[in-house]
């Protein structure tokens, strides 16, 4: 019965929106929660030292990408939308790195 409902929902959603099903949204939410829990768990491992930086960067980038791809539908929408957003992100990153370099953060 549950499978039937899920299939109907999937079919209905696919026909009308071309977007993921509510089940996919739920799975994404659970994955985001688990990654957040891992981030907080890792935070308490003091032995990691500076090694925590790449780990947390990878985990938060994964969360960012999941929300953008599935919840903001960039995976399913026109590539131009992705271009506008990624363009802004790249510029933001460039601004950030420039500011850090200007203030000799990496020295």
């Amino acid at each position: 019965m549950a499978e039937q409902i899920q299939t109907e929902t999937q079919s209905d959603s696919s026909v009308h929106t071309g977007h993921p099903t509510p089940l996919t949204y739920f799975k994404v939410a659970m994955t985001l929660s688990v990654i957040t829990a891992i981030e907080v768990g890792i935070f308490y491992i003091e032995d990691l030292g500076l090694g925590i930086i790449p780990i947390l960067v990878v985990l938060s980038t994964a969360k960012f990408a999941m929300v953008a791809m599935f919840y903001m539908h960039l995976r399913y929408d026109a590539k131009l939308f992705t271009g506008f957003f990624v363009g802004g992100l790249v510029l933001a990153l460039s601004i950030g790195l420039s500011v850090l370099a200007l203030f000799k953060f990496f020295a």
Binding site: H19, A68, M72, F84, G96
Partner: protein
């Protein structure tokens, strides 16, 4: 009918020069520019990190468990937002109302956490157990650098030292950059909550929110998810990196 179909397909196949809905394109352009806005604020916070001359510092005021809960609430609000959009596209106005109301409530919960946090920071108190400090040398090592500057206050006859040293935007560089960054994010969330509540309100008016006009909800959803992804970055860079002992 054509409009409804275009809206349901995320604004594609429109009769525009790009073939895309220009309202949606404008929203993405705005979000791209907002990335630069928050990128600048985050970079400024990082540049001044560790350069404050006086406390309190991040390790004195941050509570990772509390912020983790508020982060979880905001992540879940993103899920309920997409479920509201999906419900509307299925033609379920009732489902839409339930999920959009849930999203607004979770947004307000996040804001309540932020108000609690800001108030807590502003009223931060340095508390030292002088008896423990006098009898156990290891107790001093457990204090933060800022708390250690108050150890001299534990003179003979003083059992407990307690003094208010709140963190405000004027206290130090950390306070200025932290409140500016998280304050602007909070302002974005506030605007998002107002937008969600207005959609909920208009869903009760005739023709206000319909599957044919789902693009209105799609735009609000994009804004809401953006607020969420910005917080993902802030939570890691400001909170987790900010108080990790190894950094």
């Amino acid at each position: 009918m054509a409009h409804a179909e275009a809206a349901a397909h995320g604004g594609e196949h429109e009769e525009t020069s790009t073939g895309l809905n220009h309202r949606k394109l404008l929203m993405w352009a705005f979000l791209g520019s907002d990335c630069m806005f928050f990128g600048s604020l985050i970079a400024t916070y990082v540049v001044y990190f560790g350069r404050s001359k006086v406390g309190p510092f991040p390790e004195d005021v941050f509570s990772i468990p509390t912020t983790s809960v508020s982060t979880f609430v905001l992540l879940m609000s993103s899920m309920s937002m997409v479920l509201a959009y999906a419900a509307l596209n299925r033609g379920s106005i009732k489902g839409f109302r339930i999920w959009i109301a849930s999203t607004a409530i979770m947004g307000m919960t996040f804001l309540a956490f932020q108000v609690f946090e800001f108030t807590d920071f502003a009223n931060h108190e340095v508390h030292l157990d002088c008896v423990e400090i006098r009898t156990n040398e290891a107790a001093i090592e457990e204090l933060t650098d800022y708390e250690k500057t108050f150890v001299d206050e534990c003179v003979e006859g003083v059992d407990e030292f307690e003094e208010q040293h709140g963190l405000t935007p004027r206290t130090n560089l950390f306070g200025t950059t932290f409140f500016t960054l998280t304050g602007f994010h909070g302002a974005h969330v506030t605007l998002g909550v107002i937008w969600l509540l207005s959609l909920l309100f208009f869903s009760f008016t005739r023709g206000g929110v319909t599957p044919a006009r789902s693009l209105d909800v799609d735009l609000a959803a994009l804004y809401w998810h953006f607020v969420d992804v910005v917080w993902i970055v802030i939570f890691t860079v400001v909170y987790l990196f900010g108080v990790f002992p190894g950094i």
